[in-house]
Symmetry: C2
Subunit: 164 residues, 2 copies
């Protein structure tokens, strides 16, 4: 069913524990997320353990976009205090997903604008994110919001250490 977010009230709010299955479905519906998430019911406990860790840490905010009572998008914001930039705080954005039924309706843009406003509110001087180099549409989306791809985003996946 096609939905029209432009004409529905959109609410951005902190995620609650019972939003976790809907958020994981969004993560798993993603091209890159498909192979690494497990959205089957019941969800692996590790998702709830991570949710609890996020909720109990004042530096992390997991949010959802709600449209017509349904979770239509999600974003994770982390506030990090650094000594750099004369003791400046940064806001880092991760795990941005919008339900495909609500694509091209400015839902992502409104979610990012919310995150940027929240970063200001939390006294950050910089908002940062990394995005897979294969996600070319995402780069254009972030560039339109003012982001500059000035850095290499480098990742090292850890394999379990050999038994001692």
């Amino acid at each position: 069913m096609a939905m029209d977010a432009a004409h529905a009230p959109l609410l951005i709010r902190r995620a609650q524990r019972d939003d976790v299955p809907a958020i994981v479905r969004l993560l798993a519906a993603d091209d890159f997320g498909r192979g690494r998430e497990d959205a089957r019911s019941p969800l692996p406990d590790a998702y709830y353990a991570a949710f609890d860790a996020i909720q109990h840490d004042g530096c992390n905010e997991l949010v959802v976009v709600e449209i017509g009572g349904q979770v239509a998008g999600t974003l994770h914001l982390t506030i990090i205090p650094y000594l750099t930039y004369q003791g400046g705080r940064r806001a880092q954005i991760e795990a941005v997903r919008v339900d495909e039924r609500y694509r091209n309706q400015q839902v992502g843009r409104r979610l990012l604008e919310w995150a940027i406003a929240r970063a200001r509110e939390r006294c950050c001087h910089l908002v940062q994110l990394t995005t897979d180099k294969r996600r070319r549409d995402a780069h254009r989306f972030y560039e339109r919001l003012g982001f500059v791809a000035s850095h290499e985003g480098m990742k090292l996946h850890l394999t379990p250490a050999p038994e001692a």
Copy 2:
């Protein structure tokens, strides 16, 4: 004075409050840091406020490399819990600096190896960092450690909001 770290004992430890001036000197001695830091004595209070915020947050670890009683390098590690990767934790590295007198003596490598080991100890499945695209030597350094430049690192600097 040239120093030879290969023959001096090297200690990696959590930074203390009285290490802040030495850390800020390292940040300010950097080509990109020069214009954005203020290492003059007394240091701006904001550096100490940031240090206190870092020390009181269990997700952040600011460390120094000490050689012969001197601060010879620094690194900031942040542990972030996410729902992605089935509730996986990531370790993020930022603000890596080695005193130029100790360059090319494996001090940076030992600091990064420490951080990767610490990430495992804190149950992270991934270590990540961003590095300015102009720092070509740094890319090679991180690639030798196993990092892959799979992502764009995008930044948005916030200017103060207009007065309401």
